[in-house]
């Protein structure tokens, strides 16, 4: 039975992606029999290119997407290169989990609370510095250029890239390599870029592509932080898909296909730039420059990283405060009247979306962990070594823009009679939960000394008993961490809920996005803070349960994520 798990996993999570792409591309060329589209046609594309402001949408998409991805990558690399092995890296590593756990929308709303004209940042300098007696009439979050969206994306993508890069650093001989380079007279940052980065890059390439793809096609954050007239392409396509005029489904499908082409093209362009930089880098390495005097760079990188984490955490605090504020007048830095009334008033409204969020996230994470454990166990029992292609398959749902295939997934769900069901919602979330669960668990699972299993087998334990009694308990900490990652990913999903739920299900994320368009910060604060709180609880449990279970087992601390 175990041997079928990898095939089942691929079918469950790549099948819908492939079917989704087909189901999006066919309507883009006029074929969607349910809506009368039976003949191939280029009309959807003509209508798409005739849409007013499409050029602005495309410009916004490309500028914000590339800016966010490149800024996030540059900051992470500069920070690790200048601060490798120092206290700031240890501090950032400890602060990583809280920011990683927070859903994208919550980060966006938190940033908007800080950077909007009546936000904390303006309050902190008003009126004593700015002279503003009331919130200024300027667009900051959102702003017309997408700067707020770039900032929001950087706040969320930097922790993700840091996590992936730190994990990759653990798998290369970075310390020894750096020691050798330093002994040859290279400055710390130069040594890192010349000797460690070439080892790291193959392992962080796919996460970087995933960040680029996400930044180019983000919908939920864009609905909060991007300009609305016109918005970037992805939220605009969602608007077309949601249009009551069903004929616009063809236009939307063409937009989704264009989004897909944009992402594929952007990744190809980035890959080309990578080759160019690698070529220049080889010449730079061969030139032998030692590059001393990185102190200024270290200060700048540490400061920038501190700013990212500071803003991220302040945004969370802002949401928490708004959720318990009764009166918070401009330009007060803190509410003048506090109240739990916002929570009690919303309790009833929160119950159903809250339950949907928890039940779907719990189910998707549990199914994902079962499938991933099955795949990893099968891999070890059959001595299969997955190649680079397998990793590309795992990343497929993260590299393809969600808007580019979720409509097709919805068509698939309609075809099999699942549309708008709870099971469809779980399945839709599973597509994105599974890759993250796999990425979180594969490393620790594969690193477990295989001699433990051999010893257990030689003690007469069948493979099943070895799995349940030895491997799973020993790896409980990373397994629960991966479960918490899956839960957090699902809690933060927006588009899969919108499409797979068929409008019948609301989660805390969809509610938070809807409310973000309104003006009641107290209610937005309640929803966004609760949305951020759930993944936190998941991570807290993932840390607390093994810590309690193995409180008397000193060596179990070694089996971490």
């Amino acid at each position: 039975m175990l041997r079928w798990v990898p095939a089942l996993t691929l079918l469950l999570f790549l099948g819908p992606v492939a079917a989704g792409l087909v189901g999006t591309i066919l309507p883009a060329f006029g074929i969607l029999p349910a809506l009368g589209g039976t003949e191939p046609s280029l009309t959807p594309w003509r209508r798409l290119f005739a849409e007013p402001g499409l050029g602005t949408s495309l410009r916004l998409t490309l500028t914000t997407g590339f800016a966010a991805a490149i800024a996030s990558l540059a900051l992470v690399l500069a920070f690790l290169a200048t601060c490798h092995g120092t206290r700031p890296v240890a501090v950032v590593r400890r602060l990583l989990a809280p920011l990683l756990a927070v859903p994208h929308v919550a980060v966006a709303i938190g940033f908007a609370f800080l950077a909007s004209p009546s936000g904390w940042a303006a309050r902190a300098v008003s009126p004593w510095l700015t002279g503003w007696e009331r919130p200024p009439d300027i667009a900051t979050a959102p702003d017309p250029y997408g700067i707020a969206l770039v900032c929001g994306l950087v706040l969320k993508e930097v922790p993700f890239l840091l996590l992936m890069t730190l994990a990759a650093l653990g798998q290369v001989p970075a310390d020894r390599t750096l020691a050798v380079a330093r002994s040859l007279g290279y400055g710390p940052a130069t040594a890192w870029f010349k000797t460690v980065l070439p080892l790291l890059w193959p392992q962080i390439r796919l996460p970087v592509y995933a960040v680029l793809a996400y930044s180019l096609s983000v919908v939920d954050m864009a609905l909060v932080l991007a300009p609305g007239a016109p918005p970037p392409l992805a939220p605009r396509v969602l608007r077309w898909f949601s249009d009551p005029d069903l004929s616009r489904q063809f236009l939307a499908a063409a937009g989704a296909a264009l989004q897909f082409v944009l992402v594929v093209g952007a990744i190809a362009l980035f890959h080309g730039a990578e080759q160019l930089v690698a070529g220049l880098g080889r010449r730079w390495i061969a030139a032998g420059g030692r590059g001393h005097g990185a102190h200024g760079g270290r200060l700048a990188a540490t400061g920038a990283m501190g700013l990212v984490f500071g803003i991220g955490l302040l945004g969370l605090l802002g949401m928490a405060l708004w959720s318990v504020a009764r009166r918070w007048r401009w330009p007060d830095a803190l509410p003048s009247v506090w109240s739990a009334g916002n929570w009690t008033r919303q309790a009833e409204a929160l119950a159903w979306p809250g339950w949907t969020t928890v039940s779907v996230a719990g189910a998707a994470a549990l199914i994902a962990i079962a499938l991933v454990l099955g795949c990893l166990e099968n891999e070890q029992r059959r001595h299969v070594t997955p190649g680079a292609r397998a990793l590309w398959l795992i990343y497929a749902p993260l590299l393809a823009p969600q808007i580019g295939f979720l409509f097709g997934v919805q068509v698939l769900f309609v075809t099999v009679g699942l549309d708008g069901r709870w099971a469809a919602l779980v399945w839709g979330h599973l597509l994105f939960v599974l890759p993250y669960v796999f990425l979180a668990l594969a490393g620790p699972w594969r690193r477990l000394d295989e001699r433990y299993a051999r010893t257990a087998l030689c003690l007469g334990a069948p493979p099943g008993r070895v799995f349940w009694r030895i491997k799973l308990p020993m790896l409980l900490r990373p397994v629960l961490f991966a479960l918490a990652v899956g839960f957090a990913v699902s809690v933060g999903e927006y588009l899969p809920t919108v499409f797979a739920g068929g409008g019948r299900y609301a989660t805390l994320t969809t509610e938070a996005v809807s409310l973000a368009a309104g003006g009641d910060r107290r209610v937005i604060g309640v929803y966004a803070f609760l949305q951020a709180l759930l993944p936190w609880l998941g991570f807290t449990l993932a840390i607390a349960i093994p810590a309690w279970l193995y409180r008397d087992r000193r060596n179990m601390k070694a089996f971490t994520v």
């Binding site: 001595h383 010893t455 030689c458 003690l459 308990p473 087992r553 000193r554 060596n555 179990m556």
Partner: protein, 227 residues
């Protein structure tokens, strides 16, 4: 030579990427006998033991036959071969107590009282009575090594494989643990195959020594006990 209780290796060939590491090895390990396999890293010694356990990496091409107590174990799953193994690390399961580790080695189907009796007896034999509830991490290296052996013996193996089990121990402890392991194995009449780099291990074992070298090994390379 292939009497009851013996471990017999017939025509064993180990190859990796077309390069033969061991070629046509013929060994008989009688009950209570310790045969030592020596050789440099990469000569295939540990792979030989992994093959005997049934856990060899499929990257190696291994041919030949192994019989234990007259039963051909070559294609049996590891868990029913009844071949115990000790590595250079004790590999006590860190999530289980000392008693839990020992219990893991016990055959299934025993009553609770019988399990507890056997665990207590094993702890006394290891001079660690009263340690059942302890965290393995709180034991010394020597204590851990003894528990690892007792766990293996509680599984009632018919042969014992030793993959450099003394190499991580300091010199003083090494002699004691070596005596402890060899003593218990020979007392139970187990055929023992020992893989080591250390000539002292081979001398202490006192049995036949098979020297693997960079050259592939033929049956005729089987040597005599080291003096």
């Amino acid at each position: 030579m292939s009497g009851a209780g013996s471990l017999v290796l017939a025509g064993v060939t180990v190859a990796l990427d077309e390069a033969a590491l061991i070629d046509g090895l013929e060994v008989v390990v009688a009950p209570g006998e310790i045969v030592t396999v020596m050789g440099p890293s990469g000569s295939g010694k540990s792979t030989l033991l992994a093959w005997l356990c049934g856990t060899a990496d499929p990257a190696f091409r291994i041919a030949g036959r192994a019989t234990l107590d007259g039963v051909d174990i070559t294609r049996l799953p590891p868990e029913i071969r009844r071949v115990g193994i000790l590595f250079q690390d004790d590999l006590l399961f860190p999530h289980l107590s000392v008693g839990g580790n020992l219990a893991f080695g016990l055959p299934p189907g025993l009553s609770r009282a019988e399990r507890e009796r056997r665990i207590e007896a094993a702890l006394e034999e290891a001079e660690l009575a009263g340690f059942a509830g302890r965290d393995p991490a709180t034991l010394s290296g020597g204590q851990r090594a003894r528990i690892a052996l007792m766990r293996t013996l509680l599984a009632e193996p018919k042969a014992l494989l030793l993959d450099e089990p003394f190499s991580r121990l300091d010199a003083a402890l090494r002699d004691r643990i070596r005596c402890f392991v060899f003593g218990h194995a020979t007392e139970r009449g187990l055929p023992v195959l020992l893989v080591t780099h250390d000539p002292d291990d081979a001398r202490a074992a006192g049995g036949t020594v098979i020297q693997l070298s960079d050259e592939r090994v033929q049956g005729s390379d089987i040597g005599k006990p080291l003096k």
